[in-house]
Symmetry: C2
Subunit: 129 residues, 2 copies
């Protein structure tokens, strides 16, 4: 029997991009990647689990930082090759830089400007490393 | 001199995923891909131009359908490998299926359900083909 996981159009690396959108502010917080197992675990646990392409490992969001994402809703697009997670962001910080979200750079006059504040020093989030 | 385009982390195919978010409703409408030229043209024209991976060609959104996306804001994420376009969606329809947005499928009880209406028959959008 075809599973809901088979309806996702995984790319040649077995991945699909996942957009995390804040349930309250509706802002796009981040874009990450998921493989089959990370999506399965996300659904089973109700908390976002991604696939880290750099570490080549499952990446439970908030595992170190505590900035867990509680999943309220999961959406799939028309051709099955992109996902939206509507989430509640624990701590109000999605980005490892300490910004609310990863999209804090805005193009203005041919320059990317940081237009959102750092809410918490990454050293305080992750500890001195 | 390093251009704003060089700050984008293009993948091995020279592409970056772009999330189109509606300026008014704040909904995530679609995820598409951009190459350098499509992003340049988007900025120059103020209307979204993507890269069609299936057709391997620049894809001016709305060229056939009239469902042009006027770009209000362009955001880049922390590691430069994803873009958000905040746009005004002409015609209120972003998806080729005639839905407001491509993310009309919601996971409920292990099944993807269509939870949003078709606003316009695709045959009426594109003509009989």
């Amino acid at each position: 029997m075809k599973s809901w996981l088979d309806e996702v159009t995984w790319n040649s690396e077995g991945l699909v991009p996942a957009v995390a959108q804040d349930a309250a502010s509706r802002e796009v917080l981040m874009v990450a990647w998921m493989n089959r197992e990370s999506l399965e675990r996300t659904v089973a646990s109700g908390e976002a689990v991604y696939w880290s392409r750099s570490r080549r490992a499952l990446w439970k969001k908030g595992e170190t930082s505590g900035h867990v994402q509680r999943v309220r809703e999961i959406r799939l697009d028309c051709d099955g090759d992109a996902i939206v997670l509507v989430i509640d962001q624990e701590g109000g910080i999605a980005c490892h830089t300490g910004h609310e979200r990863c999209f804090f750079r805005k193009l203005e006059g041919g320059v990317w400007h940081d237009v959102e504040p750092v809410l918490k020093d990454p050293k305080a989030i992750y500890g001195e490393r």
